[in-house]
């Protein structure tokens, strides 16, 4: 147990009352500092080949390394475990050359075999990240050519390949083998343990409460802030509710926090010593219509709704911290074009479309489903309800657990009339978003529209296998226009990514490719 100035103050309740929010400091462990990060979501499964979401991946990125890494805004892919790679002209073969000095936390060297093993494991477990590559890459086609070279041979060209590689983390095959029970490929063990090479290693793991990471002193890649400023470690603390999270930041019990409401952030910006990070995001918000069944199968009704909705409310709800979507693709994604004539609130037009629909007088009730507990989605539902009153359409706002929503959305018969969905593209390649409108995505959460347009489907399928990037992008421009014209969803907005932190936390590096809330902990340090 470490001696901590903060705990001493915490326990001396009297002293604490006398010194409101002063004399508090970041945690020290010896003369190094521990950074405390608070979020609202646990880390149920740490295994990098089984699960990812923002909090999980934040920890995974800290304890594991990938061949490549996403950094910066706009996001770039930089060499990491692989110092360079080559792509064959036919787009089928990728050869990665590893750095020579990478090693796992237990001292084992990180070699080509470890990379091969990890990709194979990811594909075989067929969970989490597997969907990204499994249709194009067979485990037997990954070859460790020599200890520092790995070669991947794809079944057919797949343009987004490189954009997914950074999310395939490398695990230590020896540790996995040592902890395999009943042939589970180490799955049970890796749920709460790590076998990585990343800048941090696990010290304490309770995915529902707290995760304590220690910095690796001799991290093979070194530390950008210099050895003197290197942290002792990072604590990820789960604080489910916003108010305690905010109070904790105010009282310097935490140094970095995420998932604050726009209103909270506005208030916190005024606090001395608190800095707000506010960056253009990459996560689209849309309301998916059920295009196959029910009233919304009627394109005129969809258009009517799209023109009746008060888009400004999306901005107001975020206190200005959002941009309206001008295409199905988020701004900043390769191939993104600004589609002209995106529907905006225009009641005249809305009424014209409504009149052409099968329910010219409205007088229907539509269900709007959002994930239970998502406050913004609920408020947007209220704005939608208010907007559609002008068309004499009632809205039934329903919050449902994720599983129920997904289960309902899996079939056109049960999919709600309207479902609010946030989508964060996992890679920068346009296919990541475009494929959501393909027939193959029907029934998955981003495919709840059950959007049908065979021409568009064909274009999407063609584009993902193309090597010529210019032609590819031209196709995507057309795809975006066609999708907007078909209005399978109400294209909403892209909210800013926001965090609040103490101002002594230095070198935060934003990258929109990370999930909402997710932070790259590697460059962070504490000054003072």
């Amino acid at each position: 147990m470490s001696h901590t100035s903060r705990r001493a103050v915490l326990l001396g309740a009297g002293a604490l009352a006398a010194l409101p929010a002063s004399g508090w400091s970041f945690e020290r462990d010896g003369n190094r500092k521990v950074l405390v990060f608070a979020g609202n979501q646990g880390v149920p499964v740490l295994d990098p080949h089984v699960r990812y979401d923002w909090s999980t991946r934040m920890i995974q990125q800290s304890v594991y390394d990938g061949l490549l890494k996403y950094v910066g805004a706009p996001p770039r892919i930089i060499p990491w475990l692989a110092e360079r790679y080559e792509e064959s002209a036919d787009g089928l073969t990728y050869t990665f050359h590893l750095v020579g000095n990478a090693k796992f936390h237990n001292g084992d060297p990180l070699d080509a075999e470890a990379v091969r093993f990890s990709f194979e494991r990811g594909l075989k477990l067929n969970a989490g990240i597997a969907w990204m590559l499994k249709d194009f890459l067979k485990p037997e086609n990954i070859v460790a050519v020599d200890p520092r070279t790995v070669r991947f041979t794809l079944d057919r060209p797949f343009a987004p390949f490189i954009s997914y590689v950074p999310w395939w983390y490398i695990v230590n095959p020896k540790q996995v083998a040592a902890n395999t029970v009943d042939g589970d490929n180490g799955r049970r063990w890796l749920t709460e343990n790590a076998a990585g090479s990343g800048p941090f290693k696990l010290r304490r793991f309770d995915g529902n409460t707290l995760i304590h990471l220690d910095t690796v002193p001799d991290y093979w890649k070194g530390w950008p802030m210099g050895e003197a400023n290197r942290l002792s470690g990072v604590i990820y603390r789960l604080l489910r509710e916003a108010a305690p999270r905010r109070a904790a930041l105010q009282r310097r019990e935490i140094d970095f926090g995420t998932n604050f409401s726009p209103d909270d952030l506005e208030q916190m910006a005024r606090l001395p010593g608190v800095a707000i990070e506010n960056h253009a995001g990459f996560t689209t918000f849309g309301i998916k219509f059920n295009c196959q069944q029910g009233p919304t199968a009627d394109i005129n009704l969809r258009k009517a709704i799209a023109h009746a909705f008060d888009y400004e409310s999306l901005i107001t709800i975020h206190n200005g911290g959002a941009r309206l979507m001008d295409s199905p693709f988020p701004t900043g994604m390769a191939g993104h074009v600004s589609v002209p004539d995106m529907p905006r609130k225009d009641l005249e037009k809305a009424r014209v479309f409504l009149a052409r629909s099968r329910v010219p007088n409205g007088d229907i009730e539509l269900e709007y489903v959002h994930v239970q507990g998502l406050e913004d989605a609920r408020r947007i539902g209220l704005a939608l309800l208010d907007s559609l009153r002008a068309l004499n359409i009632r809205v039934n706002i329903v919050g449902q657990p994720w599983t129920t929503m997904v289960a309902r959305g899996s079939k056109p018969d049960t999919a709600p009339n309207m479902t609010s969905v946030y989508v964060t593209p996992v890679g920068t390649d346009p296919d990541t978003v475009a494929y959501q409108y393909h027939r193959d995505s029907w029934g998955l959460y981003y495919g709840m529209s059950h959007y049908e347009n065979p021409e568009v489907w064909a274009m999407i399928a063609e584009a993902r296998g193309m090597v010529d990037q210019t032609r590819r992008m031209a196709i995507y421009a057309e795809v975006q226009r066609r999708i907007v014209a078909d209005q399978p969803e109400l294209f909403g907005m892209i909210a800013n990514r926001t965090w609040a932190r103490r101002d002594y936390v230095k070198d935060f590096e934003f990258s929109p490719i990370r999930f909402t809330g997710e932070v790259d902990l590697y460059p962070l340090w504490i000054q003072g």
């Binding site: 499964v45 979401d53 749920t191 603390r237 604080l239 305690p244 657990p401 599983t403 997904v406």
Partner: protein
């Protein structure tokens, strides 16, 4: 007595089986797809199907039920689809926190409820009686989640005297549990600082949780004390000059304590159920929070496990109360 106990235990087992059926039915009327949760957010259809097979969710319901029951007999509560961990393991991890919270809350409830009930009965119809009566009803009427928020607002946010939520400071790494109850463990290890820290975290949720139970105990104890104080044997003891404090604290109280004990047992069962709210407000890492977060994400095995544990706990509490009744009431002891 032995046959009676056996009969009771048999009934409890039967009821436990009923409870298992009930939770199983509820978990399966859900239109949700646990396999989707198991497979993760961006999972494709083949991955969802694979998860379904892995968790045996593709089997017919009666087969799933049979498997669940046979697993239960081995102490296996099934696996959570959210993290794939055995629910039993998680229950073992979170139950001590809930137990500690409930024990402290119950201690507060009894330690405050019984004396207040006595006071109220002794000063019946005086202002102190009216005041405790309003307090008692308030204890039942105050929404625990709201009251918890108010306490947080006052003692944690505004005054800064106590931490807002959680069970320990993030910097404290508790040693391996002995009992799992931090207050007890820290005392056993002679770690005063840890004890104070744990206490500072547990005190607000314990107060909120104790209120309804305090109120019930107070009410029952008051009315039983009033009854007892009116009883003939108290008049006789008084007429014979038994000391007043002994009269109230022993002669009357002992009689009032039997029904109070019954309510304590009943409340213990309810308390385990209402920790759900308190744990949610205070982010207390117990089985209540575990149940709510699992239920909201559609992960039912943990909810079933918690329901069973809480139901079992309720039955055990009832059994213990029965036993205590038997030992405390000499008339039953001989019967």
């Amino acid at each position: 007595m032995i046959t009676y106990l056996l009969r009771r235990a048999g009934l409890a087992a039967l009821m436990l089986f009923g409870l298992i059926c009930l939770t199983f039915i509820i978990a399966n009327v859900a239109p949700s797809d646990p396999a989707a949760l198991a497979a993760g957010p961006d999972a494709g259809r083949s991955q969802i199907e694979q998860a379904r097979r892995e968790y045996g969710l593709d089997r017919p319901l009666h087969e799933q039920f049979l498997r669940y029951v046979t697993d239960l007999t081995r102490g296996d509560f099934g696996r959570s689809v959210a993290n794939g961990r055995p629910v039993g393991q998680d229950l073992a991890r979170y139950f001590p926190a809930t137990l500690e919270l409930c024990l402290l809350a119950m201690a507060l409830g009894v330690l405050a409820g019984v004396p207040l009930g006595m006071l109220s009965a002794v000063f019946k119809d005086r202002w102190i009686d009216h005041a405790t009566r309003i307090l008692a009803v308030s204890g039942i009427a105050l929404p625990p989640f709201w009251f918890g928020l108010l306490l947080q607002l006052g003692f944690a946010t505004a005054l800064g005297w106590l931490p807002t939520s959680g069970r320990l400071s993030v910097f404290t790494e508790p040693a391996a549990p002995i009992t799992g109850l931090l207050l007890v463990d820290s005392l056993l290890r002679g770690n005063g600082a840890l004890f104070t820290e744990a206490l500072s975290y547990i005190i607000l949720p314990a107060i909120v949780l104790s209120l309804p139970c305090l109120a019930s105990i107070l009410r029952v104890n008051r009315s039983e004390m009033v009854e007892a104080l009116r009883a003939d044997y108290i008049t006789a003891a008084r007429a014979n000059g038994v000391l007043r404090r002994r009269l109230i604290a022993v002669h009357a109280l002992k009689n009032a304590m039997l029904p109070t004990l019954a309510i304590i047992g009943l409340r213990w069962g309810w308390m385990m159920s209402s920790t759900v709210l308190v744990e949610t407000v205070f982010d207390w890492p117990g089985i209540g929070l575990y149940a709510v977060s699992s239920a909201i994400s559609g992960d039912f095995k943990p909810v079933m496990g918690v329901t069973l544990i809480v139901g079992l706990n309720f039955m055990i509490a009832n059994l213990v109360v029965d036993l205590l009744y038997g030992t405390l009431d000499p008339r039953l002891r001989d019967a």
